[in-house]
Symmetry: C2
Subunit: 328 residues, 2 copies
């Protein structure tokens, strides 16, 4: 009997401008990028299994127990975390008799929306395979709920919105799409994972201790975000780079920088010839983004490699959720 | 005949908080530090000579011509620049028949007030040697005038005030003394000279282009400066370090940082265990300052050396101008 499969993929994301300040109500801009999580679902009568590939993880199997608990078949902590997101999807849909295979190009625990992309792709693939017909809006909303549940209350609506819809999103309270053209960028990752929850808490403490300092800093971040939108629209890359560099300093001022991030940022701006570079996401580890001169992505990648960073060429405004059904 | 000498010394300075923003009227704090320029004047009938020692310069002689011009006896550009300040003093006082020997521990072109310290010490030593009785106030005012003349209109009143009076100075419009206790710090210098004039011009251009971004940034810098004063007074070093780190990020945001400065700053904070670190002065090169944990200056110096920086242990609030007359 030929095995029928369903496959879905969803992109990771970067925050271009406004991280941290967004918690206090100033706008932030995020973009889907062409690093994707791919989920394949196939029939597996009488069993329920999750297999993870790539993501720097070894191929690993998980079983989901009768009460929805993840039973690890020997694995790393990171793989177990990724499996919990898929288990959340499986439980939400009350799915059974399937194998869910997750493959992802998105580095984990790096602020690139790896978990949102896995949840969105898994939710779409599993629900399609079950014959459920969820709209993209429904996938985005349900995925956000599952991410929040697995992360015990934490989860940005921007991540799941970008994974589901692709393109750009502006967050200011809720998330709303922005119609902007694609830009060639480079993502550079440090070896240090980041922890959004503790970083956000640290910055909010700083804000309570120094409201008269952090208030104007967040105001400046908001103004940078507002100035950036027409620059992306018009392809004013020089100015966009200047705005990224200013935003980076403001992120440093609230303690979101690290030595490793700073090294990659200066490597990109210096030898890499980037027009601008900044950390992306909560900071304290994780990744940075750089805006190369047109056609010079490779120069930035070389400079990052020379500074012990993992670099990925990406395009912003990448396509959102893609579902393929009835694959044999 | 025993040779009668007059000797004067004056300290260099660091800016603790508020550089760049001070140009727009927010307060800045500077402090004299225990790196000094020493000037010795001795009789030399029928001649007028300037000799420079240390400062990373070879011992070099200069003669001053009949119209006050400096005649180099073979020297570096840096030594010639230092000699021009002394020549400015000699001309101002119409001095003759002396040899002026300049020795300095203050790195040149580094934002540490090397030229102000040389002018203040030379003015005091030469005027004393001539039997003129200038008050410290007169030395500070005249030295500022000479520095501005040699630098073609540029010259911070803070530099000459700190070299003359020592201690701390608050600049907000004019300079006024602040009564605060000494703190152990470390100064770390990159190999790259800095150029105050071009850095200030660059930041003011950025401010014209992005007033709604730079305005709040300068406002935040001013608030940091205000918060720092009670911290220095009460010895709240942890908080002082946090404020230094915040100020550093804001200096990065206006483009005053460099890769080398960032490396030294992260080395001091990381392996050096410093409570805070920031660039000092205009940036774009020059030096940084770090606040060690009490008794741990050495750890910071080692971390800076490991990152190819020149480190100097210093105390803030150092003594100002010291004059010794009638030395044989």
């Amino acid at each position: 009997m030929p095995c029928v499969k369903t496959r879905a993929s969803a992109p990771g994301k970067i925050i271009l401008f406004g991280e941290h300040a967004v918690v206090s109500g100033t706008p932030a801009i995020g973009s889907a990028v062409g690093l994707r999580a791919r989920v394949t679902v196939e029939d597996l009568p009488g069993r329920l299994e999750i297999a993870l590939r790539d993501m720097g993880l070894t191929v690993t199997g998980f079983s989901v127990g009768p009460n929805g608990e993840v039973i690890s078949l020997g694995s790393s902590e990171e793989a177990a975390r990724a499996a919990r997101y898929v288990a959340g999807v499986v439980r939400e849909l009350d799915a059974r008799d399937i194998r869910v295979i997750v493959e992802s190009e998105i580095p984990v625990a790096s602020g690139l929306g790896s978990s949102a992309a896995i949840v969105v792709a898994a939710l779409a693939a599993v629900s399609s395979h079950m014959g459920l017909d969820l709209s993209v809006n429904q996938v985005a909303a349900q995925a956000h709920g599952i991410e929040k549940m697995v992360q015990q209350g934490l989860g940005s609506p921007m991540d799941t919105a970008l994974s589901a819809f692709g393109g750009y999103q502006m967050v200011c309270g809720g998330a709303s799409p922005l119609e902007l053209p694609a830009i060639e960028m480079v993502v550079g990752c440090t070896s240090r994972p980041h922890d959004t929850r503790s970083e956000v808490a640290r910055v909010q403490e700083l804000r309570s201790a120094y409201p008269e300092v952090i208030g104007p800093i967040f105001q400046a971040v908001g103004e940078i975000t507002r100035r950036a939108i027409p620059c992306i629209r018009d392809g004013s890359l020089m100015e966009l780079g200047t705005l990224m560099n200013m935003n980076q300093g403001l992120l440093e001022s609230i303690g979101a920088g690290t030595r490793e991030l700073s090294e990659l940022i200066y490597a990109a701006r210096g030898a890499g010839g980037a027009l601008g570079a900044k950390l992306t996401g909560a900071g304290g580890g994780g990744c940075m983004i750089a805006l190369p001169e047109p056609g010079r992505q490779r120069d930035v990648l070389i400079a990052l490699a020379q500074s012990r960073g993992s670099g990925f060429p990406v395009k912003t405004g990448a396509e959102g959720l893609i579902v393929e059904t009835g694959i044999r």
